[in-house]
């Protein structure tokens, strides 16, 4: 059927392309308030408009179906599973049969000696990450941007992207090997140059945060810089020319033109980062920590894993997970509010 809107212009387009309702006049489809005394949209009118839309888009709906099923099943159904946090869950009884204990699990966790340690560790890793690992890709992007030789620039980029694609297992294996007290070259160098005794880096709680952040930087600096490179390409080159004519040095140009030019990108990414302030990825910590380093290394996600899947304390671990999620959302909302108030950029 042809579209009534375009028809008046002498062009005929299938309504699937222009998106208006099926070739009927507004009155016939029963939608809208037509001046001239015609009746307003009736329920029957609305229903037939809806079914018309469904008929028109039936192919799209069919395509969309697997996606809906996926999200309902794997994203929304587990949200119901959060009920377990308020129960004393047991397998045999299932969700509906287990006893309800209200906030007991949360209270238990609060009184747990680990409570503040976990929150502190999770938070501190994120704070350090924010201070050291967040700016690293920005700095790399700024440096690359000042590079004039295209070949050199591309090579550096290619090389620094590589660690991002290597699996965490391999990365941490390499790191522990480099730091090994017996065969690691770091200790070897420390010994032969400074005469120091070997340091058991991976086994000392004091070193954990440094190692974690350093590994983060090594892996993420290249890949993270891509987004900033994209933003940098959006800065008007005329700004630089004008500044140069006013006698601006390259160094100052970076501060006054380049950085402000990508500030909105930086803020958006910062917001995302803050929104995950209370989640530390499981993979890297899990591979890097040992019981000797739990003091600084154990984070909420690894604790949930140990208590929940290794010890099968499902209710308790779910409660911890819920708490984690909620704190994250609080951070995100707060950060967004601040961004909205003080800058022009925000997530919503």
């Amino acid at each position: 059927m042809f579209c009534t809107v375009w028809e008046s212009n002498g062009q005929h387009l299938d309504e699937r392309v222009c998106g208006c309702s099926m070739g009927k006049t507004a009155v016939e489809s029963g939608v809208g308030n037509i001046p001239g005394g015609r009746p307003r949209s009736t329920l029957a009118g609305r229903a037939s408009a809806l079914s018309a839309l469904i008929r028109r888009d039936k192919m799209l709906l069919l395509m969309f179906l697997p996606g809906i099923c996926f999200y309902i099943l794997f994203a929304y159904v587990p949200m119901y599973g959060i009920m377990i946090a308020f129960q004393k869950f047991s397998f045999s009884r299932g969700i509906w049969g287990s006893t309800w204990v209200g906030l007991d699990n949360f209270i238990n966790f609060y009184h747990n000696p680990y409570f503040w340690k976990l929150i502190r560790n999770t938070f501190m890793l994120n704070v350090y990450s924010l201070i050291f690992a967040f700016p690293a890709p920005i700095i790399l992007a700024l440096l690359l941007n000042e590079m004039r030789n295209a070949f050199f620039k591309k090579s550096v980029q290619m090389i620094t992207y590589i660690p991002h694609f290597i699996s965490t297992v391999v990365i941490i294996a390499i790191v522990s090997n480099l730091l090994s007290p017996t065969s690691g070259i770091v200790n070897h160098a420390l010994h032969s140059v400074f005469g120091l005794e070997p340091i058991y880096f991976m086994n000392e709680a004091g070193w954990f945060r440094t190692l974690y952040i350093s590994t983060d930087i090594w892996v993420g600096i290249g890949w993270g810089s891509i987004i900033y490179m994209a933003a940098l390409s959006g800065i008007d080159p005329h700004l630089y020319e004008a500044a140069h004519m006013d006698g601006c040095s390259r160094w100052r140009a970076i501060f006054h033109i380049t950085v402000p030019g990508i500030m909105s990108t930086i803020i958006i990414l910062l917001l995302f980062r803050i929104g995950s302030m209370m989640s530390v990825g499981f993979d890297k910590v899990f591979l890097m920590y040992t019981p000797a380093t739990y003091e600084t290394a154990d984070v909420l996600s690894t604790y949930v894993y140990r208590r929940g899947l290794v010890n099968a304390e499902f209710s308790f671990a779910t409660a911890v997970g819920v708490l984690n999620n909620l704190i994250n959302i609080c951070f995100l909302i707060t950060a967004n509010k601040l961004a909205r108030r003080y800058t022009e950029t925000s997530l919503w």
Partner: protein, 292 residues
């Protein structure tokens, strides 16, 4: 960037080049180091003589890895997971992204909000695990493929790309009487090759490197994908016995070589494929960044 020929500018250039070279070297060094270790003489390894270049050269490490079955089994398992997983990922992601890219699609705003919501809030580890258990997928490879079938992030990138395809191109198919599905397969997909390639690669790399899902769902060591096997081998020492049994005693001296050779082989597919495909990765991130 300011074009400037002054001395200060040249010094600045020099400073930048130095820093970048250091960064690139630091990024690359650990890999070169491991590769060198894998082919070096065992004695040299033990005496810490290897820094960057191999000392001696022998392929016994690699040979023993190939002979031992476990690593190859893990390799094959991972390849299967990557192929099956990425196929499922792409079909699901495209079928979800295309309708959402049409502004006329019913409730498209609602769907987008519902999906974006799941990016910030979810059931968490335990409820998801229990669900997978309920579905009887524990110890099955589908537990590694289905729960992560659609990455909302990738789906949004795909959707953004579909939106950028000009309507006129779809019209021509519609004029010839094609339905939405025909438009998708005959017109949109062929035009989206770059985007499809990029997203497939994102998914494929994620599958290859994943060890957490296998850690919690796969119960038998023989069924472990490569990365998990690697973890067992390198971190828990659990597989040391297995490797020792594979290697006859007189070849046990090559244990270090085997370890590093395994590391190299686990990473090799990515390192080989990477140079050819890296521009796709970057294009994908750029699309997501600028329009997302």
């Amino acid at each position: 960037m300011i074009q400037d020929k002054s001395l200060a500018s040249r010094l600045f250039d020099g400073f930048i080049v130095t820093v970048l070279v250091l960064v690139a070297a630091a990024s690359l060094y650990p890999f070169l180091y491991v590769i060198s270790l894998s082919v070096s003489e065992p004695d040299a390894i033990r005496s810490n003589l290897v820094f960057l270049y191999p000392v001696g050269f022998l392929l016994d490490g690699y040979q023993l890895v190939m002979e031992g079955k476990m690593i190859l089994v893990g390799f094959r398992t991972s390849v299967f997971i990557v192929l099956a997983g990425t196929t499922v990922n792409m079909i699901m992601t495209v079928l979800t992204a295309y309708p959402l890219s049409k502004s006329r699609f019913i409730l498209s705003n609602f769907w987008m909000m519902a999906i974006t919501f799941t990016m910030y809030f979810g059931g968490g580890l335990i409820p998801t695990y229990l669900l997978v258990r309920e579905l009887g997928l524990v110890n099955s490879y589908w537990a590694l493929i289905l729960p992560g079938a659609i990455s909302s992030f990738n789906m949004i990138i795909m959707r953004t790309f579909f939106k950028s395809i000009p309507k006129e191109l779809e019209e021509s198919a519609v004029m010839d009487g094609g339905g939405d599905f025909i438009v998708l397969t005959r017109i949109v997909l062929p035009l989206s090759k770059a985007s499809l390639a990029t997203i497939s690669l994102f998914y494929a790399v994620a599958h290859w490197n994943d060890f957490f899902a296998a850690l919690i769902y796969i119960k038998e060591p023989i069924r472990y994908p490569l990365q998990l096997m690697l973890r067992e081998l390198l971190f828990t020492g659990n597989m040391q016995e297995a490797t020792h049994r594979m290697i006859e005693d007189k070849k046990a001296m090559y244990f270090e070589n085997v370890k590093y050779a395994t590391l190299v082989l686990a990473t090799l597919p990515i390192l080989l494929v990477y140079p050819f495909l890296q521009r796709y990765f970057i294009r994908g991130v750029m699309i997501g960044a600028l329009k997302g």
